[in-house]
Symmetry: C2
Subunit: 362 residues, 2 copies
DNA sequence: CTGAAAGCGCTTACAG
DNA sequence: CTGAAAGCGCTTACAG
């Protein structure tokens, strides 16, 4: 463990420990990894030697030999701020940690450049991981090819999947139908839609029918589709309904969207927001504009994040099992690493009627 | 690239590519890593062969050889939910990514078990990383020893440091003095303090003087100390001031704390909250109790998170450079990996007077 | 410009 | 229970 001529101490290796303990490297290794196949005496000598040398095994070397790194790649588009300011993003990490954390797994966060896309091909290629978990990526994100090339298990959460791949999603379309139905049942005919991003180009503003027809974010597309289907079934042309697209799933974006929709004809009596974050912003805009919710304006969200029930008024929304998405993804990772066959899980949603919706006043 | 007898395809290795291209492994490697030292002809042959085989280099093998993994360990206590529901925690990750993200670095998040402590020794020992960045760990967290043992650079952000180690912090004590001074200057004599956690035991409630004397979280300790020093200088016995400790840095905890302090004698005319998150909760509690801020009650925070300026009333607080902490940490990581000598950085804070403070009404 | 050899630090069958 | 040998997949001096 002596200093080299550079003055920097060299880390002790297993070979050093073996010499110090007077055993072979194999025995030294066994003392750590197969305590039952080592005599107490030798094991103690090895452990003592390791202690003396301040030895700690090199995880990369072990990983190379064992063919496993102990890390799971968590791939998100956008910068960490955006990915994790979304309660759903954090819940995913949390659920993963709950399931996988016990067996000393770490999570390698690979994030995007802040321009809508995921990590670079280089970052994906160089990631020391055993599997990838992707979170709400755009269908055409180039990092998907980069991951496919690695040949590692890929668990897609709310995003594009590889053929015969693993995935976990929720009943986006059904949830959206439930919500729309609820609003229509109350008697609303003039609705406005505030949607999450359609494509990874950072656009923020009214979404033309053309744009809505080519949505590369799965959850956005499915929620939009569910909404359109119910509208059409009620005899309302979905193409005539104003849709405002928000580049970020954040209350401030919902606020701006609602302001726009509420201050231009046709003034909607109900705002269908495709996430609670956006709905929270819409609620704030309504208050600012002096529009009473739900008396003068109904607002619905989606997700049922914690803040939804604490909002004023408490938000009518669709509950999705946020944390379960993470734990389910964790279980799929475990199955994948155990060599099982890929499967797809779709988690159920549930309509939660609170106080932000009522019949229209006119 | 043929399937093995298990039916699962074997990943192509560099050796396979070399054979396919009819060159040595060294040349194949050079074609990828030293394009300038390879003839165009051979390089193309190698690249084509790699393409045909779907080859992608094994990052672990490369890492072992090069002695670098391309990942930075981000060590936080608590589960991801708590660590990243704190805007400061996310800002750290973001700043790190901004500085280090370009050179294809990933961040291995090592989180705690949800009982106040950091990752297990096993998780730390097995982490495939080139350096550790710790975020607001308790001074006595066992994972610190585990990291020291790895012999890797350790950059401590707002937490315990190794002797002669790297660190980035802020002027916690000065900020706290500024805030306390401001409150005292306004004429307040009856103050209450709402503090972040003192020790990693999940305790939530009034903090006795004994407990305040042994605080293992650096920021909490320094802010408490700054506060006490100013109080004492103004002739107020810090021991007589009620202090309520919150186990989590979350508005809901500040809410409960404020309720308690405001509904028991001596009823304070000013609440010194040691974070904006807590102050936000205190503001909500004051509103609920019908106490006008700042007319009947002054409230100050600390951090100047985004929500502080949007609060009602806008919060008087101390601004710390949240994002800079992350970018600074990133730069220190880069320096550490370049073999430079450890240094410590303390970032400045600044008092921001808004509308949540005023002279006492009685 | 190219290749044969050595080695990063570890673990795993396999003999003894 | 222990050790000699091979090898995980790659890169790096070093000759040619």
């Amino acid at each position: 463990v002596g200093p080299t001529h550079h003055g920097r101490p060299r880390r002790a290796t297993l070979a050093d420990v073996a010499v110090e303990a007077g055993v072979s490297r194999a025995t030294a290794s066994n003392a750590f990894n197969k305590p039952d196949r080592t005599s107490d005496d030798l094991r103690r000598r090895v452990l003592d030697a390791a202690e003396r040398l301040g030895y700690s095994p090199d995880p990369m070397a072990r990983g190379l030999r064992r063919g496993r790194s102990g890390a799971i790649g968590v791939v998100v588009a956008e910068r960490p701020t955006y990915a994790f300011s979304d309660p759903a993003g954090v819940a995913l990490l949390d659920g993963l940690a709950e399931v996988l954390g016990s067996d000393e797994t770490g999570f390698l966060v690979l994030s995007g450049d802040g321009h809508g896309g995921g990590p670079t091909a280089g970052a994906v290629a160089g990631a020391v991981v055993d599997a990838f978990v992707t979170y709400s990526l755009s269908d055409d994100d180039p990092c998907i090819d980069a991951m496919a090339r690695r040949g590692l298990p890929l668990i897609s959460v709310e995003g594009p999947t590889l053929p015969d791949g693993w995935s976990v999603g929720i009943e986006d379309e059904r949830g959206s139908r439930l919500l729309t139905q609820h609003v229509l049942d109350l008697g609303h005919r003039d609705v406005g839609i505030i949607t999450m991003e359609c494509r990874p180009d950072g656009r923020d503003g009214p979404a033309s029918p053309g744009r809505r027809a080519h949505v590369t974010y799965g959850p956005t597309r499915r929620r939009l589709d569910g909404c359109a289907a119910e509208l059409a079934a009620a005899g309302i042309d979905p193409g005539s309904v104003p849709v405002y697209e928000c580049a970020h799933n954040h209350p401030s974006a919902g606020h701006a969207a609602a302001r726009t929709l509420l201050t231009a004809p046709p003034c909607p009596t109900a705002l269908i927001c495709q996430s609670d974050q956006l709905a929270l912003g819409a609620l704030a805009a309504a208050e600012q504009l002096g529009r009473a919710v739900p008396a003068e304006l109904s607002v619905v969200g989606f997700d049922d994040i914690e803040a939804a029930s604490r909002a004023r008024p408490p938000l009518t929304t669709v509950r999705q099992p946020l944390r379960d998405k993470g734990t389910t993804a964790g279980r799929l990772v475990a199955e994948a690493l155990a060599g099982e066959t890929p499967r797809r899980v779709v988690l159920p949603v549930e309509l939660v009627i609170r106080s932000s919706t009522a019949p229209p006043s006119r």
